[in-house]
Symmetry: C5
Subunit: 352 residues, 5 copies
């Protein structure tokens, strides 16, 4: 948990001081710029944050991606040049921040989690994506360079769909749509995992508890990270600022519906994992019953028989039965009768 | 879970691209048209979506049923000809969509689940029904050709009730009423299944846990699919658009009441199935107690007796008792006394 | 569950078709008419629904009671003559309907449950009472002829209290007051039953689980049936129609308070019955501990002793101890020491 | 539970008939009158309710205390003379009433519970206090004569604090403040009791379950009785009537805060008592494990050894080992080795 | 729990009488004054509360810290000189008060908890901090002299950040920010502790239950103390008084977000600790299964074998097998076969 180390370091600093709170996932900050409108398209890596500034004045839509947040200087410059509130810069730098949206006069800031489920370690990999949307300009801050938006970039380049004809608010929506769509994949993996665990429980594997508890925790974390997204989209729908065009609103409402759908699924799986836990507990006590039955059957049959054998192993001088000719076989027969009636008794009790 | 396969396929595509997300349940899309008013009645299958278009202008009420959604072309054409928002077409194509209603200027769109409970597999069969209502026109999209609306069709043909004299909003209500009424049947099957499970638990069948957990899951899924219907009807009742005539509103309010009733029943059964689980757990530990009691009674009686037999089975040269004439019978008597007092002890402890 | 049979029969019928959904509890429909104001009082049985119609025009307050709902013709006639919405007639005929109130222009309709607790079968007996209040006219539909309102009838006849001087709204309130007051009796029976169950659990009866689960179910059903009454009264208090006079409002508010009180008690008992279940589980595992202790003490003491007896029962030729004169008594002494130290050990562990 | 007996008696009576619902806690109704303003102070017992009436006209603040409610005549007279609504008189007479406030034109009525925790019987003692506040007049109805307000009376007599200079609303506040303050004492006793129970659980006392369940029940009852007080004070704060002066409002808000604080503590203790229950269950199964371990260790060591002793106790004619000179001691050595390796095995498994 | 002792002492006193409710944590009250604006900076200890009064008129921002609340005289003087409502002074003196804010005309009062987690005693250390903010003046009341605000003081002295240029509302925010930031540290310690406990559970330590229950309790207390802070900040954000400048509002919103984040984490950890408890229970019953398996295997194998040995230990005169030459070895072989088939049986059942 580097969460701990980081937070503790910051406590006591003045608010507004730029400290990167998170794990450094890339060695060097990387920058890409995409600039397009229905005619133009340009995409390139760039070395220096200053290269971005000239695009500010252009009419075309510019999408700047910044990977790696540990070089806080870049953010400081962006903040100053684009007039972003220091607290926003701070929020971007804190990769444990809760998803939220804030609508300012000149820009909309939102931060959200991109979530992947790693089936091998049974862990969620959570990456924070922060987005600042100005008129005709979108900044997108990620922790590392990944291929989350590869499809989107191709779509823009090939001018598929309506994206080249729409404004930055539609691009903003598209970015969020990809992230939310990805939640469905996580939910599906969890659904699969639950089925696996259930099979394991039925197969009687005892180490499953650990996995069940682990998955429960994953679900709790997932909900914690998706829940605020609903709020966030809801507040955008209620908002009356002019950032989102009327034609984009239905798409955002659609996104909102998806988020609710994901959350309901998460809730459903949480109830299901509890069911699996109960199944496991039930299987355990069932097993116990099985074990006890075996012990009880064996002990209940042989302990009395051994007692009778013990009786005739005694060395009393006067034990008339010992001298009877059929004493031994008579006793064996008697034991057989006891044995069989015990079996019958257990049969009737359905223990056999 | 084809849910998974499908969603994953779509992630990354541009919103608004028409992909069928669901299981293909019929081989070929089928179309039926019904056209009626208080005088006229026409009903026929048709081959081609274009055959529907001329009805658009007619004053009569037209009800078009489309079975099978994998041929996305049909929907595209409907969308274009009737001016439906692309996102709505997309929602129709995603058969895992959450029930919802959306009221546009020219039409009302709603999507809802038709649910059947399959008692053999103990599973819910969920079919999505999407309805678009325009003035005098209703589109109804189903996943396969079934007999859900057979009774309704007969009713219209025979001009029973008020339906032939009412508008498309009343038809819309009737369609939903049939779907919601069907929820009651599902709830009743679940109620029966709970009683069965309870009987099984009382009869002491151990595999019941699996079934209990399964039914719990069915109930969770059921609630998840019905819950949004309540919201949906509520928002129609609050809405002030002119799609629903004043004379239809009481019927919709009635429908709303039914939905709440179903939901409350579902909630009740959820609490009851938890009770069955507890009953099962209790039965299990009761059984364990039974098993342990048998073991304890037998062991507690015979282990000490065996010990005494063991004592007189020893080969010490000097053991005076062995030579007493009544030693053997005295010991047998002593053992009998121990045996009887043990029985008495267990009797008093109510273990026998 | 006749609930199931009935509902299924109706599915597919047109809304507004009058089918009796419920159990037929009387052979023939019965009718009583009471007509009164501060001067006049008339009460009589009548044979025919048409006899009621003349009272419609009178200024006096008329209270018509109809017992038995399976002859749907009567309701149809009432509906037509008094201009009641068909859906209301349908609601009256469905004896599984959720309690609700609906305020129309000319009348107020409400349906509510009269609940009795049958201590022998441990079941709730639920009877639906539907009331239509017009100006100076009250219809009261019951499933069977009972003595619920006997006291009230006497009160009116003897002109006790303010009832003869008040309008139909006060009569309406009085009817509901009797029904809600009766809930307290049910709640009290449940409270008694919980105490009984607790005593049974303490006395160690094992079949109690079944009863506990049963009572839990009764409580769940009770809550389900009373909960909507709160809503219903609340909506009357918020309503601004002129059906309820200002002087009656405090009485309805009082009724509302009672309903909340009942509901809180129900909630409390639900928590208590859960507590009883826990107590039972605890008692069971306590018992198990007891059983295991007995087994362990006996086995732990005698198994080692038997072993020592077994040693000296061996037939080796060269076993010097066997020849010692005090070997036997020495061993007995040794066993006694072991026995006593075991006892001491268990004493110290508080197992004895 | 006299709750039951009483309620049942009343069912069927006309609303507004004065019947005392509760336990009679004093033999004779007692009355005290206190009359004061910043100059005057008078306090005396009085025999007759009529003695109170002259104070109605006075400008001074009059506080009348009535102990014992079974003589319903007194209340009837008060109701008539001071023009109190009959339902209010009825509420005062029902000592099981839910706490509530009602603001009329001429007076404010509130009913609340004075709660004491009896540590010996582990029960709550709940006394109902009903207060009617008119301009310059306060009636306070209690079930028995106690010393709840002794301190307050002294404070008024000695003219401590602002009370002699304030109006009847401040007196009203002070009375409630004393009652709410007392809740803290109850909560503290419960907190102590939880700690005691926890110690008992750790000390391994098995009868604790009963006490835990009992305390849980006390907490549930406590919450049920305090919860409505919050509502009640909240509705006074929202109210805009002129009964409460602006200078008194901060005090009532303070009281409201205290009530929330008490409720949060109650909620916390409810969660804690659940924790104690879990602790107890855990302790029980821990104990079970202990018991089983002892049994298993003894049985696992001695059963095999006894078997070997049994082998050489057989009487076969041809058993070569029996004739070996070191056979006996060899076997003893072999048993010792088994014994020690068993011990080692259990040591390694941490069972010893 | 000195909570108890104190509250009880106060019950019955008149509201507004100043009694210190809490534990005395310092011997003598201490006072520090800090006075600054963008130019001036002064910081000094002072002996006497009267030294503070002259600063009241100054334009500079004055921050007075008072450590130790048992000398109620100081507070009385502050209350009188700065015109603070007596109830506020009382709230400051009650160190068990619930966090809250109250906005008056001339000042804002808030009380909040500074929380530290003591990992050794596994307890929360809660200190109450009350803050009164007037125009250009902040009073801060603490229970003891600590170093909570050391960093802040240095920051002001060194004029780092915007604090020297901002008003008293920003100072107020900064103080709260430090306290809320500290909650993160507590949450992190709890997160660590949960991981530790989980490791302990997996390592099979049985005393862990106590610690789990303890931590659960810590989490419950933590939530109880942080929950009202959310409310408090929310009500400031909704408030429209002029105490908080527009430039400070974003900072307070940020603080509000942090509080929500902390609360969500606390909720998450509460669910996690429940998971740990379940894990523990599961581990316990798993262990039980293990123990029972060992017992069952040993007993099931050797009890029947011992029986056979017992058979041939009997002393019947006519037992033909005893005379067979290979009887002994035949029996040994037969026992070996039984032994091996048992082993095979347990292997197949996966008990070995």
């Amino acid at each position: 948990m580097n969460f701990k180390r980081k937070r503790s370091e910051k406590t006591g600093l003045s608010p507004g001081s730029y400290v990167f709170l998170g794990e450094q996932k890339v060695e060097k900050t990387q920058l890409t710029i995409m600039d397009y409108d229905s005619q133009v398209f340009e995409f390139r890596d760039c070395q220096n944050i200053e290269e971005v500034f000239p695009y500010k004045e252009k009419e075309t839509i510019t999408w700047v991606n910044l990977y790696g947040l540990h070089e806080t200087d870049n953010l400081k410059k962006i903040g100053e040049h684009f007039n972003i509130h220091p607290l926003i810069i701070e929020d971007i730098l804190n990769t444990k921040h809760r998803p939220k949206v804030e609508i300012f006069e000149d820009y909309v800031f939102c931060t959200i989690k991109y979530i992947r489920y790693n089936p091998e370690s049974d862990e969620l990999e959570i990456e924070q994506v922060s987005i600042i949307m100005l008129a005709n300009f979108i900044f997108c801050f990620q922790e590392r360079k990944g291929d989350i938006f590869r499809h989107l970039r191709e779509r823009i380049q090939n001018a598929r769909g309506r994206i080249r004809k729409s404004g930055s608010d539609y691009l903003w929506y598209t970015i969020l749509d990809i992230i939310v769509d990805n939640y469905f994949l996580v939910v599906e993996s969890i659904s699969d995992r639950i089925e696996e665990l259930e099979d394991e429980v039925e197969a009687g594997e005892t180490e499953t508890v650990q996995s069940i508890n682990n998955l429960k925790r994953v679900i709790i974390r997932l909900r914690k990270n998706i829940w605020p997204v609903r709020e966030m989209l809801g507040s955008i729908l209620r908002d009356e600022s002019s950032f989102f065009k009327d034609s984009t609103i239905p798409f955002i409402r659609d996104l909102y519906d998806h988020t609710i759908h994901v959350l309901e699924s998460v809730e459903t799986y949480r109830e299901m994992i509890t069911g699996v836990m109960e199944l496991h507990n039930s299987a355990m006590s069932n097993k116990m019953n099985e074990i006890m039955k075996v012990l009880t059957i064996i002990a209940t049959i042989f302990i009395p028989l051994t007692f009778f054998a013990g009786i005739y192993g005694m060395n009393f001088e006067f034990m008339p039965e010992l001298k009877w000719q059929w004493g031994y076989f008579g006793l064996l027969g008697f034991m057989l009768i006891i044995f069989l009636s015990m079996l019958y008794y257990f049969k009737r009790k359905k223990w056999l």
